[in-house]
Amino acid sequence: SQKIEQNSEALNIQEGKTATLTCNYTNYSPAYLQWYRQDPGRGPVFLLLIRENEKEKRKERLKVTFDTTLKQSLFHITASQPADSATYLCAIYNQGGKLIFGQGTELSVKP
């Protein structure tokens, strides 16, 4: 069956460290993958998009990798800050034209 799996347990890290979140998928052939941030009571906010022919994408303190062989994307936040605390969602754009979301990983950055 098709699945998108993100770390189900919350990730707690110290301010200044690098946070690494994982997104694994099964039985999908995504044309691209997106990462979103969601704060309580708000809708998801788009962060980054990476295509299947791209290995890595960066935006400020954010970095995303995409390994179609491992069927995995990693999302990194360097020099993390308490303001980065949120739930981060991985979403796959599958053939068929819609985004399919993982359950998300809650990140907590402690001062």
């Binding site: 998108i4 979103y36 809708g43 998801p44 819609k98 985004l99 979301f101 993982g102 359950q103």
Partner: protein, 113 residues
């Protein structure tokens, strides 16, 4: 630019009643999507409009749900009659094209009692 607007932000209705949710996308965005998150689950796709046409409604749970997009502008999602399992947060999103990141609204929290 104004974001995606949804209203109401909250709705509590009794089982069997009708509720209509509204979404105003970003002006000029042809693509409009409805998603739903039920407690403890991932955000799930409901349907996709391109302008006023339904491109994909494969995620609509059943025929109690009816979505429309008048003149390719705002969209409504009606649930009639509502059941307890319809409770959740309904999100609307829009995008300029299918490959671009989506802009989401803040959602409508629907509680059916």
């Amino acid at each position: 630019e104004a974001g995606v607007t949804q209203f109401p932000s909250h709705s509590v209705i009794e089982k069997g009643q009708t509720v209509t949710l509204r979404c105003d996308p970003i002006s000029g965005h042809d693509n409009l999507y409805w998603y739903r998150r039920v407690m403890g689950k991932e955000i799930k796709f409901l349907l996709h409009f391109v302008k006023e046409s339904k491109q994909d409604e494969s995620g609509m749970p059943n025929n109690r749900f009816l979505a429309e997009r008048t003149g390719g502008t705002y969209s409504t999602l009606k649930v009639q009659p509502a059941e307890l399992e319809d409770s959740g947060v309904y999100f609307c999103a829009s995008s300029q094209d299918e490959v671009a990141g989506y802009t989401f609204g803040s959602g409508t929290r629907l509680t059916v009692v």
